[in-house]
Each structure stands twice: as structure tokens, then as C-alpha cells.
């Protein structure tokens, strides 16, 4: 499954000029609001006809402004999940779920109804009317409805943005199962670093209607160029890691290996070898020029400074190589001068907290 998208579109004062390609798994379109993510996904869905562009899925030309071909949305078979669930109020949950089946090609038996209902945990809701369901329940049904229309591609436009934290936490595991248990490629629009870190295989970063970075999720999310987009609080690095089989000396801790570096975090119940992502915010990383003593921090590593970023609002991002991983630390410009930080200098990195994204 390969999706290639290239498009330009002008809407008032805003112009979109973006191109990306994706294959199996989750591709996140990531950016601040107003960066053109929703415009781009509406163009892919066919709900918006762009000024010019070309969309190809597995060699099948979905639209090409060059030869004026345009497949209308109902013939694309791109399942869509929107920010608000958009359930049909006059149909029961069951009929909402089976709506797309009426229109799916006869030879496409599609996803098994019971399996999807089970995957999303909506068995008990089937005979209810959508009106009185909670936001999280509605969104799960919207996801099921899109899946059951036997889509070739799943488009999700900030499906969690309208939900509170508890509801987000309720749905994220289902999205992960979706990613891991179905073969349908997913294009996922989001402005949330946590969601993207947790779900995406690839990230396409959008800024003012342009693609500012794209590629492997961990790489793109760690790029210092994205700092301004991610928001200074959340900026940092994302590291791919695995649960280490040897739990170490304290049973209350779990050891996680990323290259040669071993992180110790509070106990998590995951099997050894399980792939995991670590998100370390730059503001949670301290630097020390000599080995620090008597600190409560669990993770203190030796490394070498790779790069010293430009000063922004009195702070500087310092990128440090620790056993093959790049960890970003945010220090004040004052501290950077006092410690005389320079590229190539050996340094100790003190990590205050590590966020795990399964």
C-alpha cells in the first residue's frame, strides 16, 4: 500500500503546497492549527477539490488535475473519521456501523462485523440510539463505521481533539490495536505530540501549508527545527527502545534499552523485548560537566555535545549524543556560558523524567 499525495490549493490568504508519500501503518500529518492539516486530509478524502494536485494509491490514480480526473468521495473508499463523530442521528448504532456495507463492492466482504465490534468494545451499545452516548463511545462507533465500509485507506482528522483526557486514554489503546491488527494504512491528523509519538510510524510535519519535515516518527519528532511547532514545553527527543529482559536489581523498576543506553523507569508491566518509545522533554534534562553525586535522578549518562542551538527566549537547546541516542537538553543561555559548553565536549546528562509511549 503506497499513497502518494501532491497538491496545491489556495483558500483566501492561505496557500497549501504539500507533497508526501506513505505506506503501511500510521502516517501522522502533524502541525499547529492553521497549518493546513485538515485542508490536506479533506483533499485526500475528496471533500475538497484542490486547485491542482495528484493523488495515487497503489498505482490507482484517485485524482490528477493534469488530465482532469477526479474520483468523487463515494467512489474512493477512503474511510474517514472526523473530529466530531458525525453519527447519523436517525439510525441505531448497529445501522450506523453497517451503513457503509450497502455501498461496498459485492466481492469485498470487508472487515468482519463481530471482530470490529469486539476490537472497539461496542457490543453493549449496538441497539442504542447515538444521541445519548458519551463522546468516547460515539468516536469509537465512528471509527467502527469507517472500518466496516471496507476502506482502502483510513483518514482520521483529529479524532481525539474534542475529547477530554480520560476519553482520549479510553480510545488510544483501540487505535493502537487498529494499527497493529489491521492492514489498512492510516493517515492521522493531529497537533498533539503525545498522540503522534504513541501512534505514528511516520510523521509529515506541516508548517504554514508547507511540509517542513517528513520521515520516520522518532527522527522527525526529535528535529530541533520542529521545536517552534511542538511548543516549547513539549519539545524534546523521541527514542525508540525495547524492554530489557533483565529487570536489574530492584523489582520496582523496569530497564529499557535504547542502543547501548539503559534507562531505568518505574515498573511497567510489558513483556521483555516489547518495542516502546521514550519521549524526553528537553526541559526535563540537566547538564553537568563533572559526574554528579547524590542526585535522586535514576538516569544519568555520559555523552558528548553534538550541537549547541541558537538562543531563543534566553534558553538554548543542547543536543547530546549518549551511546548513539540524541538527547536534547534545554539550559539557560546564562548556564551555557558559565559552563562554557561547546560542541564535542564530554558532558553528563541528568534526566528528570521519561515519558513512555507504548
Amino acid at each position: 500500500m503506497t499513497l502518494e499525495v501532491q497538491t496545491t490549493h489556495r483558500l483566501g490568504g492561505f496557500s497549501l503546497d504539500a507533497a508526501f508519500s506513505s505506506d503501511r501503518g500510521v502516517t501522522a500529518l502533524f502541525g499547529k492549527s492553521g497549518s493546513g492539516k485538515t485542508t490536506l486530509i479533506n483533499i485526500i478524502a475528496g471533500l475538497l477539490s484542490p486547485d491542482s494536485g495528484r493523488i495515487v494509491l497503489d498505482g490507482d490514480i484517485i485524482m490528477d488535475s493534469g488530465n482532469r480526473s477526479f474520483t468523487p468521495p463515494h467512489q474512493r473508499r477512503f474511510g474517514s473519521v472526523f473530529q466530531e463523530a458525525r453519527l447519523f442521528p436517525h439510525l441505531s448504532v448497529r445501522h450506523n456501523l453497517t451503513y457503509g456495507r450497502w455501498f461496498a463492492p459485492a466481492n469485498q466482504t470487508g472487515q468482519d462485523f463481530d471482530r470490529i465490534v469486539d476490537l472497539l468494545g461496542i457490543e453493549a451499545l449496538l441497539e442504542r440510539a447515538p444521541t445519548n452516548l458519551s463522546g468516547g463511545e460515539k468516536q469509537r462507533i465512528a471509527i467502527g463505521r469507517a472500518l466496516l465500509s471496507s476502506p482502502r485507506l483510513l483518514l482520521m482528522d483529529e479524532p481525539l481533539a474534542a475529547l477530554d483526557e480520560a476519553r482520549k486514554a479510553e480510545i488510544l489503546p483501540y487505535l493502537e490495536r487498529l494499527r497493529d491488527e489491521t492492514d489498512i494504512p492510516i493517515v492521522y491528523v493531529s497537533h498533539s505530540v503525545a498522540e503522534v509519538t504513541r501512534l505514528a510510524n511516520r510523521v509529515v510535519a506541516l508548517e504554514d501549508g508547507r511540509v517542513s519535515a517528513s520521515g520516520d516518527a522518532a527522527t522527525v519528532l526529535s528535529l530541533s527545527a520542529l521545536t517552534s511547532m511542538i511548543g516549547r514545553r513539549e519539545a524534546g527527543c523521541v527514542i525508540e527502545a525495547n524492554i530489557e529482559p533483565d529487570a536489574g536489581d530492584d523489582p520496582r523498576l523496569t530497564v529499557i534499552r535504547a542502543g547501548e543506553t539503559l534507562f531505568r523507569v518505574p515498573k511497567v508491566s510489558l513483556p521483555a523485548g516489547h518495542a516502546i518509545r521514550l519521549h524526553i522533554a528537553a526541559r526535563d534534562v540537566l547538564l553537568a560537566i563533572s559526574a554528579p553525586q547524590g542526585l535522586s535522578a535514576l538516569n544519568i549518562f555520559e555523552g558528548r555535545i553534538l550541537e549547541i542551538g541558537a538562543e531563543a527566549q534566553g534558553a538554548i537547546d543542547v543536543r547530546v549524543d549518549c551511546g548513539g541516542n540524541t538527547i536534547v537538553s534545554r539550559v539557560t543561555a546564562h548556564s551555557a556560558e558559565r559552563l562554557a559548553l561547546q560542541a564535542g565536549m564530554p558532558i553528563h546528562v541528568v534526566i528528570k523524567s521519561v515519558a513512555l509511549e507504548q
Binding site: L47, P73, H74, P89, Y99, G100, A146
Partner: protein, 233 residues
């Protein structure tokens, strides 16, 4: 209480009125939905002219509407003679003509009601349906139409009530022929024009009130049922 007993002629007028109003309401419904869709969703040159034409019967004196119908749909009128030659349908001085006059007079009310409910339909639901594979006709049949049912019912009742009360355009177009075009309103009018007709006029007035109240209550029940089905959070 003998004066309360309806005569055969009066029963005929009541049956005719119900038939004329029902036919006017049912025949104008598909046209009403089509025109309401056009006005609510269409973007074309001359839309305000179409809108004006639809609303014209509401502001024209009914006699003028009736006279225009007579000129267009009379046996020698351009449309009337065409209909008679092609499908053998004669409208002038027939109950079918009364139904046409009533349908035309009630049409603006029906279109208005349906148009408002179409404009209230969330187009994002229609977009969602199209991403699930439904083409434009299926989106209309499975999403738009069910969601506008309360508005369509309200429009039908308005059209029916207007038809029950229609007098000016009907009497101008198809006259006041007992058993053929004499509707309830025309019969009441006739009673008031003859000496000793007061009792007959009173009887038909009571019937008229009962039918109108019944129509209103049926519409309330139907609209309530439909609204419960499509209500949103």
C-alpha cells in the same frame, strides 16, 4: 337537534373537500421537496426569481391566481389544451382543477417549511455518508430525506389546511358546481347567499373546525414522533 344532521349535499361537499385537499397535498409534496432542495442548496442565476415565483400565490389576491390558472389551464389555455390532447386531463370546472388551485395556493407554505428543515440538516453528516460510499442520490434518500421528515410533515399539514380553506382561486378557476367543484368553503358561502341557509352554514362551519383541529393534532403527533427519531444532542 335535527338541525345538526348533515344532508347528502353537505356530505358530498365534505367528501369533495377532503379529496381535493388530500390530492393537492400529496401531489405537491414531491415538487415541494424538489423546489425546496433547489432553493436551499442550489446556486444558480435567477434563484431569486424562482423564489419569487414560488411565493407569488401568497401575496397575489387569490382571484388573480385563479384567473391566471383559468387562462393557462383552461380548455383553451396553452397548458390546459396541451394536457387535454396528450393525457386527456381536463382541469377547468372539474375537481382536479380545484385540487390544482389548492396545491398552487398551499405550495409556498409547503416549500418554506421544507426549505427551513433542509437548511437545518448538518451537511457534515452528508459528507460522512459520502466517505462511506454513498453517492449523491443515496445520501439524499438515506440521510437528508429522513432528517427533513418533521419539516415535510409540517409542510404537508400547512398545505392541507390551506387547501381546506381555499376559496378565491378555486371559485375563480373551477366555479362552484355542487358535486364537482363545490368544496366546504364554497358550500358555506352558498348557504350564506340564500334565505334560511344559516343552519347549513353553521353545520359545515363546525365540520370545518373539527377537520382543522384533527389535522393539527395529527401533525403534532407525527412531528413529535419524527423529531424524537432524529433529535440530536
Amino acid at each position: 337537534m335535527d338541525w345538526l344532521v348533515l344532508s347528502d349535499a353537505e356530505w358530498t361537499a365534505i367528501r369533495l373537500s377532503l379529496r381535493v385537499s388530500s390530492v393537492a397535498m400529496l401531489v405537491s409534496l414531491p415538487f415541494g421537496i424538489a423546489v425546496a432542495m433547489l432553493l436551499a442548496r442550489g446556486r444558480f442565476w435567477g434563484k431569486s426569481i424562482v423564489n419569487g415565483l414560488v411565493h407569488l400565490p401568497l401575496i397575489l389576491p387569490p382571484v388573480v391566481t385563479g384567473y391566471l390558472l383559468l387562462m393557462l389551464f383552461g380548455r383553451r389555455g396553452p397548458i390546459g389544451s396541451f394536457l387535454e390532447e396528450t393525457i386527456g386531463l381536463v382541469l377547468s370546472f372539474r375537481w382536479t382543477g380545484a385540487a390544482l388551485a389548492c396545491a398552487i395556493m398551499g405550495f409556498p407554505l409547503m416549500v418554506r417549511s421544507i426549505r427551513l428543515s433542509i437548511e437545518a440538516v448538518d451537511r457534515k453528516l452528508e459528507q460522512a455518508a459520502s466517505t462511506l460510499g454513498a453517492g449523491p442520490i443515496w445520501v439524499f434518500l438515506t440521510i437528508t430525506l429522513p432528517l427533513i421528515i418533521p419539516g415535510a410533515i409540517a409542510g404537508m399539514i400547512l398545505s392541507f389546511a390551506k387547501a381546506m380553506g381555499e376559496f378565491g382561486a378555486t371559485i375563480t378557476f373551477v366555479s362552484n358546481i355542487p358535486g364537482e367543484t363545490q368544496t366546504l368553503s364554497a358550500a358555506i358561502y352558498t348557504f350564506t347567499q340564500v334565505p334560511g341557509g344559516d343552519a347549513g352554514a353553521m353545520r359545515l362551519t363546525i365540520v370545518s373546525i373539527v377537520i382543522s383541529m384533527a389535522a393539527l393534532m395529527v401533525s403534532e403527533v407525527l412531528a413529535g414522533m419524527a423529531a424524537r427519531r432524529v433529535e440530536r444532542t
